[in-house]
Subunit: 161 residues, 2 copies
Amino acid sequence: MTVAQKILDAEKTMGSGKSVESFTIGQLSRETGCKVPTIRYYEQIGLLPEPGRSAGNQRVYGQQHLSRLAFIRHSRELGFSQAEIRQLLELSDHPDQPCAEINAIAQKHLDEVNHRISRLESLKAELERMVHACQGGKVEDCRVIDTLADHAHGNCLTAEH
Amino acid sequence: MTVAQKILDAEKTMGSGKSVESFTIGQLSRETGCKVPTIRYYEQIGLLPEPGRSAGNQRVYGQQHLSRLAFIRHSRELGFSQAEIRQLLELSDHPDQPCAEINAIAQKHLDEVNHRISRLESLKAELERMVHACQGGKVEDCRVIDTLADHAHGNCLTAEH
DNA sequence: CTAATGTCTCTAGTAACTATAGCTTCAAGA
DNA sequence: TCTTGAAGCTATAGTTACTAGAGACATTAG
């Protein structure tokens, strides 16, 4: 039995009878799609708990780290900030509290998401218009620049020339 | 006539017969919704050209700065990076070139926007489900945490407790 | 056993700002 | 005219969320 396995055995034995899974930082990286330095960074800022170490001082992760990291990555991808993720993780560490707070975070985020979607939808419309309007012409006939200037304050950037 | 007006008169006289508009950095900020330090930052990184100065060394902006800053802010809001905006501005400064490049930037951005929209739409669905599922319960019954962990790799974070 | 790959720490760099400190300038009222 | 408070100046440092590099030690495949 390796030192790594010993450490992990001491740390955790999961529900099922089969042997505990452990991961190096590289394996964790491959599993979650999160880069190695980013994993260390999450540990540094306290989002991810410090894992056990092997005899050679290398990080040894367990299933719980995998879950937590996956949670963090997924949340980040969905646009939650580190602060929000921290809140969610803290709340999840105290499951006896009412979930009103979590609900508030989710609701606030939902509002933001709706706002972002509507802005992206109008951007999409503009971009599609641009791409169709600007077909093999010259820049002076291209509406991309105008569109971006116009929609801000009704001014035309190309008028400067 | 103030020194500021002199500088601006020398810089620019617009098509219409009326007197040239000039702005302090604060006015520019109010007009565009862009914070004062951000305007100075844009000048520093070369996105916004250096304006004239008053006798007392204060920045004096003209209409063209307003347009350009509005363009930058609008583009930023729509998610274009500084590098992309720089490209667009450079292209707009050479209006004799074919607009294929601008088109490519817009198309690339359109692809990204579509991707973002679809991810935000599924996030929206998840968040709505969360908000509805989590009604006055306790955290341990709340699906927000599970949802965020599950969708990453099918693991349940709360199982750690 | 050696070579290649992986991991370690530490420092510094990136994008896109934002804030602070300590000063000068400007505009408006007494 | 003086003064006082807002606005502006420069310069530096902090923020968020990473990413990259240097140089040393660990692990693993052949």
